[in-house]
Symmetry: C2
């Protein structure tokens, strides 16, 4: 059970929370879901970095929030003067930044924490911790607010009785709370619209089967699981009204990096005339990335593909490919939902305008 | 190890063989692959029927051959006169036919065995067994020959240095031996062409990860495994030169029923200008089926999607969809490779002409 008495997530569960007293981070171990709901208590930067690397916490916005809380733990451990603090915070920041390359929210959140660190380096240790905790909680709180705004904006595109297909988990578990793609689904229901969800299981790590199914069932939604290979025939039979996914990074061109498989779904949506939407907070937008080809794509261990749920399924000696993300070009995206508004093609001018 | 001294498969392994003496069927338990290579000895029709239902043997041509051998076991058990034999063979035939609905090779093979049964009903029991064993072995032998012809025909479409993407297992394990889609790959290599294979893992039953990887590695091919969700980005990056898959039934229109996920791959191939080929023996063609919409699609248990190898991967209470096959319309198929020749659009007239 969530150990935090008043979580910023606003729900009975949370991907990550900074505990009262600012000395420990409660992190829901998403690897154990859906069978076990277990919170780990983290006390050191290194624990947070490893939790991100090992996918105990995943989802671009949630990673950013976890990293911000990691910086707070770094400040707790550093009682020296301004120079020592600067150095220690630089090391902590760098360690956290290295954990995963694709989601830009991580770099965005760490940059914001680094700015706060620079301002408060001369303060007393306790004051530094309090100030950074406040900044990290603000990042968390703003993410939940962004998700709620995204939900309201996106819900306008969800017709009554719609079946929404989603990939991976872009829900409460992937964010500070409420979710992006699933935030749209939540907001649609809250506005009185009947909505059902088809969740792709999302090999190799099964975030759809394990996480999206878990949080939607828990909140009483009608959810059906399919393998990633079933999307084509499902669309052909008219079983999908719209697709909504999250994003790990959105380039200036409007190209979207998201969980591997997203691009194929976007192509199939195009072929079948199904609208394809992306829901993400503004922290996912990276105007410094001109287009999708410049987004770094994480390659993860072959073992994720060679085994299934911890069971080896493949012969010894076989190789596997395992890019964790793919890029969907802007032309396949009907609209981006962000808390700053809905963005349609041409994306670049709209994104640049909203950035100001 | 394969217990048969002189297998019709022509390889060191075989999906199914009738043992010398015609009293038992050696069946490779494909559920145990790739970790264990185990042959089960079957003695009764019911064992063969259950082996087909439980996917111990799968692949449209292999199912047809296993069922033909099942009829032989039925004749072994029936020592009565012509009328009793007719009745018993009718029951056996019907039991075997009910096992799986989509692959038409099963019905084709059983129809051929039923014709043989009718001719020999008045014979002595031993003669009936010998005659049916001979017919079943002919079905098996002809399937291997068909695969070799398909391979030669298809290999003409495989350029040197090509990367072939395949889905599910349309290999030696899915047929009497040699394989259809993988037969083309084998024939291409035999003709001196360099070829590498990308195998889709093929959820939910993982025939690609477990079976295609196993038989290609065993025969020394360069094979890389991907999740089904990776096909889109792989094609986008130019990593696939052509797609070759098998088929469970080909309608008069040229529409192709094959393992779930095939249709999505065919759409992605179309989008990316990658040629999409289907390799199948003539026994897979069903001219009585006018188009793909009339092909019965087997729906299998939700549990295949909800768990794996006894490991539950999804929360209690979630529903899943599990159609085992989908239909790829003829317009997405560049050519069908059969032992009677290569068939291009318009398929219907070509198929009808070859049927004569």
């Amino acid at each position: 059970m969530l150990p935090h008495p008043d979580p910023i997530s606003g729900a009975a569960y949370s991907s990550v929370e900074l505990m009262p007293g600012d000395r420990q981070v409660a992190l829901l171990d998403q690897r154990a879901l859906p069978l076990v709901e277990r919170y780990e208590m983290l006390h050191r930067v290194e624990q947070v970095a490893e939790a991100i690397e090992r996918l105990m916490v995943r989802g671009a916005p949630a990673i950013g929030i976890a990293a911000a809380y990691g910086v707070v733990l770094g400040a707790v451990a550093e009682r020296g003067g301004a120079e020592s603090f600067d150095r220690a915070m630089g090391v902590a920041n760098e360690r956290l930044r290295r954990t995963r390359p694709t989601a830009v929210n991580l770099a965005w959140s760490l940059e914001r924490m680094a700015r706060a660190c620079r301002e408060i380096a001369p303060f007393a240790p306790e004051d530094r911790v309090a100030r950074l905790a406040s900044e990290a909680r603000a990042i968390h709180r703003e993410d939940v607010e962004a998700c709620r705004s995204i939900g309201t904006i996106g819900a306008a595109r969800v017709p009554d009785g719609a079946t929404v297909l989603t990939h991976c988990n872009a829900g409460a578990l992937a964010t500070g709370g409420y979710g992006t793609a699933l935030g749209v689904v939540r907001a649609a229901r809250a506005s009185g619209v009947n909505v059902r969800v088809v969740a792709c299981e999302t090999r190799p790590v099964l975030q759809g089967a394990r996480l999206t199914a878990w949080e939607l069932l828990r909140d009483g939604f009608d959810v059906t699981l399919v393998t990633d290979s079933m999307v084509g025939q499902l669309m052909r039979r008219g079983g999908v009204d719209l697709v909504i996914v999250g994003a790990d990074r959105i380039a200036r061109s409007g190209d979207v990096a998201n969980k591997i498989g997203t691009y194929g779904i976007a192509c199939l949506a195009q072929t079948h005339g199904v609208p394809f939407y992306v829901a993400a907070p503004w922290s996912t937008v990276d105007l410094a990335c001109l287009d999708g080809d410049t987004i770094p794509i994480e390659r993860r261990s072959e073992s994720e593909v060679l085994s299934f749920a911890g069971v080896r399924t493949t012969p010894e000696g076989v190789r596997a490919d395992n890019p964790a993300f793919d890029v969907t070009p802007a032309r396949l995206v009907r609209a981006l939902f962000t808390e700053r508004g809905e963005i349609c093609a041409p994306c670049e001018s709209a994104l640049v305008a909203l950035a100001c």
